[in-house]
């Protein structure tokens, strides 16, 4: 699988994403600078976490107006896979590739911890390596992960299975106490209707080796590889 990682000014998980992709796919990813207007032909473009442009004004807002964004949108339009993790998810919503917005956490505090996620839909490009209903542990680290969309949008997301991941309790219940940021319907990640663009707040790239405390993040990258087979 050929992949590329985009770096915006003050992206800070670009190296982590790059390393994870390199380790799991066995191929060195391309690096895209936010000012590149042309991007290589790849199977996956990853928008990493961080604080692009300091998260000033709104998280992801300035990054979503970068020169590289047009090419990324075109890639998605042609059916190419795009993932956005954390700040990358915020950029995808600001670009309009995914619906809704990510608001300040309801606690108003940055939160870094490991949460339980339930994989609800395993027929997507990004989740097929997991089993349906599986509860996985993944770290989160964000200040603005509180997903918001209007009711109509939420309804569509729910009925189309566009919510592959939800914050749940250890037992797999999407209850309020398992929700780390106030997201509507405990949403941790969403996918576009066509199924080739995914945004999620948790960081799978931080959990791909035992030394990091587990390997629950691997399935996410392995799914994309499976899709391309």
């Amino acid at each position: 699988m050929k992949s590329a990682v985009v770096t915006f000014p003050a992206s800070n998980c670009n190296r982590d994403m790059f390393d994870a992709l390199e380790k799991i796919t066995g191929k060195t990813p391309y690096q895209i600078w936010h000012q590149d207007s042309e991007i290589p032909d790849v199977d996956l473009i990853a928008l990493p976490g961080g604080f692009s442009f300091g998260d000033y004004l709104r998280c992801g807002a300035m990054a979503a107006r970068s020169p590289a964004i047009k090419a990324i949108a075109l890639h998605a339009e042609r059916g190419g896979n795009v993932i956005g993790v954390c700040n990358g998810f915020q950029v995808l919503t600001e670009m309009g590739l995914l619906p809704g917005a990510l608001m300040r956490n309801s606690s108003l505090k940055f939160v870094c911890k490991t949460v339980h996620l339930q994989v609800e839909n395993t027929s997507t490009n990004f989740t097929n390596a997991y089993t349906k209903g599986q509860v996985i542990d993944i770290p989160i680290a964000h200040h603005d992960g509180n997903y918001f969309a209007d009711e109509d949008t939420l309804k569509i997301l729910e009925t189309n299975g566009q919510i592959p991941f939800r914050y749940v309790s250890k037992e797999g219940n999407a209850i309020a106490s398992a929700n780390p940021n106030g997201s509507q319907n405990n949403i941790a990640g969403i996918i576009n209707e066509r199924g080739n663009v995914l945004g999620m707040m948790p960081h799978p790239e931080r959990l791909i080796e035992d030394a990091q405390g587990g390997t629950d993040g691997r399935g996410f990258f392995e799914s994309i590889i499976n899709t391309l087979k």
Partner: protein, 79 residues
Amino acid sequence: MKARIHITLKDGVLDPQGKAIQHALGTLGFSGVEGVRQGKYIEIDLAETDKSNAAETVEKMCKKLLSNMVIENYSITID
């Protein structure tokens, strides 16, 4: 010229900051606070000297960058 822009959340969009302020005001003993909404206030100094040109430019700035139309409204004053 100076443009003053108010960016506020649309009705129906939840406002975690406003909610938290309202709660905090309550704990501080302020009663009768029925609602709090937090928005942004941006001041821009422009080289432009024509008011309507300025308004037009700032309108574009809001659409292109300053506000997120999915969740926010904006209003502009020029002086």
